[in-house]
């Protein structure tokens, strides 16, 4: 018995000693950071991860899109979220949680792009063509992400290498909008050069880089370059989808109009349908079309018929995204927008007949009669107004409206807000932890 007790003690002591190894535990479903992006497979996985960031419910999967319509004149807040209510009323406080969420979601995406750009060049065993393609896609995504930031917040901290220490996060400061745009253009040009392969439509391609460059040049007022890039895209052979509704297919099937789209599936879903649809259709009716949007559609306009159900703002619902499940893909940039960019660049450069001819493709697809220059539209301003209208009708519920109004200089008039409100506030939570980041004036 005495031996038993001794054995008991020895066993316990042994156990305690052996168990110190048990203190080295690792999560079985996550990779230690230093092992990430160290192999060709890892580089591919991290690239998928970079696209995954676009699916966030605060980004293309939801808030980012909704707030562009809500803070513009397309959408009305009809739900229960107070942060959405403030967007609808143009009454942002600096601590609006959704404004914070959008900021964080886009920077989350940028972090992933930066890690790829930093680590992929050092990955051994990656064929150079594939390495360049991955890097090109990462540059494209970073350009896209920064453009989405600068549209809403103005000049933002320009983070182009991964942040590895919290101190480095705390000392971030804002760059000017011009500097951010310089970086965007540089990234997109880099992307255009590096990419070569025929990627699927849910990855960036040379065409996507050109199309996004065209968009960015238009935002900068560089109409000649916008036109040039738009023409390069046109030359690649895209065409409009036969039916407008094909673009918003419940399962996200491809159309000839796709240039770059963000994949959503039943598991990696978008909130678009759920938030826009009425409660009777299984949505939560968090937002609905404004009366001005409803009235802007000609009754014959196939887009209005697809995009809106009902005639009274408040009870009408947005139906562009047909299901609450949310497996519809999101057109990050589609050929119709490239045509509208081309038309606008042409119009601004005074080439009115070509401009009208270009946007007429859009009108015809929508079941409307083409405009005739000199009859329906005559002056340059009328042409530009017509293009703005087509943009609104074509891209409604796709999160384009607010930035577009600001770009075209109509926002103050259309929205009836003071000029400072044309930028979102920098999230207060960000300023709290990085005091070098200064707030936008007025907030």
């Amino acid at each position: 018995m005495r031996r038993l007790s001794r054995n008991l003690l020895v066993t316990t002591a042994f156990f305690a000693a052996a168990c110190t190894n048990f203190l080295d535990t690792n999560p079985p479903d996550a990779l230690p950071d230093q092992l990430a992006i160290t192999s060709p497979a890892g580089a591919r996985a991290a690239l998928a991860g970079a696209y995954n960031a676009l699916q966030s419910g605060s980004y293309y999967g939801g808030d980012f899109m909704f707030f562009n319509d809500l803070y513009g004149d397309n959408a009305l807040h009809t739900g229960t979220f107070s942060t959405y209510g403030d967007a609808g009323a143009h009454q942002f406080r600096a601590d609006n949680q959704t404004v914070d969420d959008i900021w964080n979601a886009i920077y989350e995406a940028i972090k992933r792009d930066n890690l790829l750009i930093e680590k992929v060049p050092n990955v051994a065993g990656l064929p150079s063509a594939e390495r360049d393609q991955i890097l090109g896609e990462a540059y494209f995504l970073r350009g896209l992400n920064y453009h989405n930031l600068v549209k809403l917040y103005g000049g933002v901290p320009l983070v182009v290498t991964p942040v590895k220490r919290p101190e480095d996060a705390a000392s971030l400061t804002r760059s000017s909008a011009a500097d951010v745009y310089t970086q965007i253009v540089a990234d997109l040009k880099q992307a255009e050069q590096l990419m070569s392969s025929d990627s699927p439509t849910n990855h960036a391609t040379v065409a996507a880089a050109k199309a996004l460059l065209a968009r960015v040049y238009l935002y900068r007022g560089d109409n000649a370059n916008a036109l040039a890039k738009a023409n390069e895209v046109v030359a690649l052979g895209f065409s409009l989808a036969l039916d407008y509704s094909d673009l918003f297919d419940a399962d996200g099937k491809d159309t000839p109009e796709d240039i770059f789209k963000v994949t959503f599936t039943a598991q990696q879903f978008t909130n678009a349908g759920y938030y826009w649809q009425s409660t009777d259709d299984g949505g939560r009716a968090e937002l609905g079309p404004t009366q001005s949007l409803i009235d802007a559609y000609d009754p014959a306009d196939l887009r209005g018929q697809w995009n809106i159900k009902g005639t009274e703002a408040g009870s009408a619902s947005g139906t562009k995204w047909p299901t609450a499940i949310g497996a519809e893909d999101f057109p990050g940039i589609r050929f119709a927008e490239v045509l509208l960019i081309k038309a606008e660049a042409l119009a601004r450069l005074g080439q009115l007949p070509e401009a009208v001819a270009t946007y007429n493709d859009i009108r015809v697809r929508a079941g409307l009669a083409p405009h005739e220059l000199g009859v329906d539209v005559t002056t340059q301003q009328q042409v530009l107004d017509a293009i703005d209208r087509e943009r609104r009708l074509e891209l409604a519920e796709e999160g384009d409206r607010f930035a577009d109004l600001v770009r075209s200089g109509r926002a103050v008039t259309v929205l009836g807000v003071p000029a400072f409100k044309l930028l979102f506030p920098i999230p207060q939570a960000e300023i709290n932890v990085a005091p070098g980041i200064v707030q936008n004036p007025g907030y």
């Binding site: 018995m1 038993l4 008991l8 003690l9 316990t12 002591a13 305690a16 168990c19 048990f22 203190l23 535990t25 690792n26 999560p27 079985p28 479903d29 996550a30 990779l31 230690p32 950071d33 230093q34 092992l35 591919r44 991290a46 690239l47 998928a48 991860g49 970079a50 696209y51 995954n52 960031a53 699916q55 229960t80 107070s82 406080r93 601590d95 989350e108 972090k111 992933r112 933002v156 991964p162 942040v163 919290p166 996060a169 705390a170 971030l172 599936t265 039943a266 598991q267 759920y274 409660t279 299984g282 939560r284 499940i325 999230p427 939570a429 960000e430 709290n432 932890v433 990085a434 980041i437």
Partner: protein, 1010 residues
């Protein structure tokens, strides 16, 4: 004769205590027998220790209260009886040379039980020799519970332990805070230890139903619990080191007693009802109110009727439709007995209750086998095995658009529950939210929990002074959840996809291996030393699977297998391990000067290699001043003991791998992907709580008055915080040790025997109160932040944790009817900057009051609990007092709204567009949560022995009992005891958001023994 002789110290419970001293006298002729009963409740006391002072003769009483001491040497002897929860009694008797004498004892109940055995972790101590702060609750206070969670027994009974029933749904978890809250991000619930084995006490369930939690503690039946001890100060909790910061709850289960098999059966059955109905508008009032709201904002008259087509032809009382009278019942059958070498207690129990809200119910079936086996004079084994299954049928609550209670309050009164064709009315018929009755009827949410809690312990009495104990313990806990969302509820997501089914499986397993030595020695007549030392290894394993499917073929098919599309899935595991060495020494000098020291070193896998080990020491001293010669002249003072302690404890409950940088799954379509998800912090380490405690125990007039009081100061440094960092880095938070919280306070318990006699009328009252003050004293860069529902809770230096921050409501402008808010920064506008601290969810004080009267077998116990000064954020009023902005039905106080210029009221005008300001989050929705509640009232009758025997029982008791019979409060919601954010909501306590109300229960029961 108070414990001068250490040999009279009993070895009870699961944990061994050294007994040393002279062995039993061999010369034995006489027998002493009798019964032991409880003066307050006239009930038999089982398990009382009966000993003949100065000899080794001892025994325990049977469940029917009888004891039998054989082999007592003749002569003048002192018999001593002590039992947990009662004052000990000694009586001098003359023992004849041979034969049998009968000596009955009546023990009286006490709150401060100085000679009670207290479980302190890896051993026991007597209350008298304790120099630390430990509160205890014993079986009589536990078996009266009508709640699935046994820790509710601490409510109002253990000073400094704040117990909050988050909501009244059956089987719900509760929030427990020992001496305030000491953490921001890390778990603030105490550590639970059952028979020496820490249990899985965190909520591992996966379906989030607002504040409704699922925790393993509900797998224990109150019937099987002997006592609950709470280690409150750092010197006591230091033996549990890195997990002691939030207090330690030690639960001890009932043991077998040797003797003939004794069978006991106890049961009760009762009826529950919702304790309150809220006053809401009826259909006529509703339409008039919203007409006015519309008209005020320029929508024209009779908007509801003329524009929307509503009439008041139907008037639905939605609350009445969802509340019901519901049965509750409990039964336990136990057999206990044994021989010299083997003792057993085998029990089976059932507890069931239907919810007072339709569609909810809870059942638990459990069994326990506790065995003690004496292999030799030196080697004993104890095994404990409990198995239980719980079936919890739940309804969504709180923060959900399909909460049954929430929607019953919000649903409009002019809409019927069902249409004329019998189908449920829906949003298509004008309801603003899903039909609450339809949700309860058609949706189905269940949690099925399985608990296997077992341990095997071997004790080797190596020498008379040294015992070695080895113990293996397991807690195998599983939670299986299902949820079905019916397409029959028009207007929900599930309807648009033809049904949603979910299935979740969660497993939390804990394996504990302990080895420790207890050594004790008394010498020189003055010195007593007890030393405990050992080591422990604890392995924690969690696993989880989850799958969610949509689009089911038929309304009667509810499983994920019936779905066409899987829309969400998960499956993983995690581990967390702890390796520890601990020790404790208690030294008593002349029974007057007591010194204690405890230390534990923990190594935890939660932290990086450089910060893995932590040392947690605690020390205490006590001076039993009443034993000093200068005290001898003070008549009436039985005991006066001063105590002081200081120590350091920790907290590590911030997840399994908080220090690591890792890349997590981030798939894109069909491409497998990952992305960096955490920014690691290799220097992350334990939260450290330094606590000092000064207290005293006082016993007067032969235990007629006992008083115990403590002052403490508890300072938590290096808070484990997921602190925010600039999102532009791509990370939004970073785990770090930043910030301090201080909790300080006073707590006391006083028990008085107002009337005391052996056979006549007895009346005892106990009062305990705790005054805790909680302050955040340091944060990262002292940056305040907000949390909780609508970010109402603030964490700010100088304020209580989670103080409410919002606009201060000043009243209603008599000219316009608009709400006026305090323009704190005087800039002429009400903006975010005008939000200010408007109250704290923490009480000024809380406690309990128990009164027990007994007379000739009758007993009457009234137990009140109370809380004063805590504020509640009544989040329901954001909608139900938004005065027209939402179509939710409104609380009837809107009838006193402003209607025309000159009206003086504090209810803003009705406004369709919300332009009255009524919907702003403001102090208008902060209410006083003080309350005084009759938590329990019991009238019991112990049948006289002869009557019981003629009925075929050894003893029998019948009782009527009521729970939650009345509450005095100004709070306008269902119950001022509420926490919609759940037990893990450290910094967002005190919010009521459509919480399931607490039930009022009236029951009848009986206990019989054979």
């Amino acid at each position: 004769m108070k414990l001068r002789n250490w040999s009279s110290m009993p070895a009870t419970g699961a944990l061994v205590l050294l007994a040393f001293g002279s062995p039993a006298s061999a010369a034995a002729q006489a027998t002493i027998q009798g019964t032991i009963t409880d003066s307050a409740r006239s009930r038999a006391i089982a398990g009382a220790q009966v000993s003949v002072v100065g000899t080794g003769a001892r025994t325990q009483s049977m469940p029917d209260g009888r004891y039998r001491l054989t082999g007592v040497a003749p002569g003048s002897r002192t018999i001593r009886v002590q039992a947990i929860g009662f004052s000990p009694v000694t009586r001098d008797v003359t023992v004849p040379a041979t034969g049998e004498i009968t000596v009955d004892f009546v023990l009286s109940n006490r709150t401060v039980q100085l000679e009670e055995v207290v479980v302190v972790g890896y051993g026991t101590q007597t209350r008298e020799n304790l120099s630390t702060a430990v509160s205890s609750v014993s079986a009589p206070d536990i078996e009266t519970l009508a709640h699935a969670s046994v820790d509710v027994a601490l409510q109002g009974k253990a000073p400094g332990v704040q117990v909050t029933q988050n909501a009244g749904n059956p089987g719900n978890a509760v929030t427990i805070r020992v001496r305030g809250a000491a953490s921001l991000t890390a778990n603030s619930q105490p550590l639970y230890v059952v028979d020496g084995v820490p249990m899985v006490s965190e909520d591992i369930s996966q379906l989030d139903l607002g504040g409704q939690g699922v925790r393993g503690i509900t797998g224990l039946s109150p019937d099987e619990i002997e006592s609950i001890d709470v280690l409150k100060d750092a010197a006591a909790a230091a033996i549990y080191g890195s997990r002691g910061s939030n207090g330690v709850i030690l639960i001890t289960t009932k043991q077998g007693r040797s003797g003939k098999p004794v069978v006991t059966f106890s049961t009760y059955a009762g009826v529950q009802s919702a304790s309150k109905q809220l006053s809401l508008l009826n259909a006529t009032q509703y339409l008039a109110f919203f007409d006015e709201a519309a008209e005020n904002d320029g929508y024209g008259a009779r908007y509801m009727e003329d524009q929307l087509g509503f009439t008041d032809a139907v008037n639905t009382d939605w609350q009445k439709a969802i509340f019901r009278r519901a049965p509750i019942g409990n039964a336990e059958l136990a057999v206990s007995g044994g021989t010299e070498s083997i003792r057993y207690r085998v029990s089976g129990n059932y507890f069931g209750q239907e919810g007072t809200v339709i569609g909810s119910d809870y059942r638990r079936l459990g069994g326990r086998v506790n065995l003690d086996f004496k292999a030799s004079n030196k080697l004993t084994f104890s095994s404990k095995l409990a198995v239980s299954g719980e079936a919890n049928h739940r309804v969504e609550g709180d923060n959900s658009l399909t909460g049954v209670v929430g929607n019953a309050i919000a649903n409009q009164p002019m809409i019927p529950i069902r249409l004329s064709d019998g189908s449920f009315a829906s949003t298509a018929d004008g309801l603003q939210y899903a039909n609450s009755v339809a949700i309860a009827d058609l949706n189905d949410t269940r949690a099925r929990n399985g608990t296997i809690l077992g341990s095997l312990e071997a004790r080797w009495l190596a020498t008379p002074n040294l015992t070695a104990t080895g113990r293996v313990g397991v807690d195998l806990y599983t939670v299986r959840e299902t949820q079905y969302e019916s397409p029959g509820i028009i207007g929900t997501y599930a309807a648009s996809v033809n049904g949603v089914a979910k299935r979740a499986y969660s497993l939390g397993n804990k394996y504990v291996f302990d080895g420790f030595l207890n050594w004790g020695r008394a010498w020189g007549g003055r010195h007593n030393l007890q030393v405990t030392g050992g080591s422990s290894v604890e392995l924690n394993r969690t696993e989880s699977n989850f799958v969610r499917g949509e689009t089911l073929s038929d309304p009667s098919l509810h499983e994920v297998s019936n779905a066409t599309t899987v829309t969400d899935f998960a499956g993983t595991r995690a581990e967390n391990n702890l390796v520890s060495v601990f020790g404790r020494a208690n030294y008593g000098l002349a029974d007057k000067y007591l010194f204690g020291f405890a230390i534990r070193t923990d190594g935890s896998s939660s932290f990086g290699p450089d910060n893995r080990y932590g040392v947690f020491p605690g020390g205490s001293v006590a001076w039993v001043m009443s034993r000093e010669p200068f005290f001898a002249g003070l008549k009436g003072v039985d005991l006066f003991k001063l105590r002081a302690s200081a120590g350091l404890t920790g907290n590590q409950a911030i997840g399994n791998y908080p220090y690591q940088s890792s890349a997590c799954t981030a798939n894109y379509g069909t491409e497998a992907g990952y992305a960096s998800c955490t920014l690691g912090n290799p220097s992350l380490h334990w939260e450290r709580t330094r606590q000092i405690d000064v207290g005293f125990d006082l016993e007067l007039f032969q235990s007629r008055v006992t008083l115990s009081a403590d002052w403490y100061n508890k300072r938590t440094n290096d808070l484990l915080v997921s602190r925010p960092i600039a999102g532009a880095s791509g990370y939004i938070s970073y785990n770090a040790n930043v910030g301090n919280i201080v909790n300080k306070g006073i707590e006391f318990a006083i028990t008085t025997s107002n009337f005391r006699s052996n056979h006549g009328f007895n009346w005892t009252t106990s009062l305990n109160m705790a005054f805790n003050r909680n302050r955040v004293t340091k944060l990262f860069d002292d940056q305040p932040f907000s949390a909780g529902f609508r970010l109402a809770n603030r964490v700010e230096v100088g304020q209580p944790l989670g103080a409410f921050q919002m606009y201060r409501f000043l009243g209603v402008d008599p000219a316009t009817g608009d709400a006026i808010y305090d323009d704190i920064n005087k800039d002429g506008e009400i903006t975010g900057a005008d939000r200010t601290i408007v109250g704290s969810p923490w009480p000024d004080f809380n406690g309990g009051l128990t009164s027990t009267m007994a007379w000739k077998g009758l007993d009457l116990t009234a137990f009140f609990n109370f809380s004063k000064g805590n504020k509640i954020f009544n989040g329901m009023r954001l909608f139900s007092a938004a005065n027209g902005y939402y179509y939710d039905n409104q609380f009837s106080d809107v009838l006193g709204r402003w209607q025309k210029p000159g009206d003086v009221t504090d209810v803003p005008r009705a406004s369709f567009d919300g332009t009255s300001g009524a919907r702003e989050v403001s102090s208008r929705f902060i209410e006083d949560g003080s309350y005084f509640r009759l938590q329990e009232l019991t009238l019991g009758y112990q049948l006289p022995g002869s009557l019981a025997r003629s009925l075929g029982f050894a003893n029998a008791r019948v009782f009527f009992r009521g729970h939650n019979l009345f509450t005095v409060t100004n709070y306008s919601g269902y119950s001022p005891e509420v926490n919609s954010n759940g037990s893990t909501a450290n910094i967002s306590l005190g919010t009521d958001f459509y919480a399931y109300p607490l039930a009022r229960i009236v029951s009848f029961g009986f206990q019989v023994g054979w």
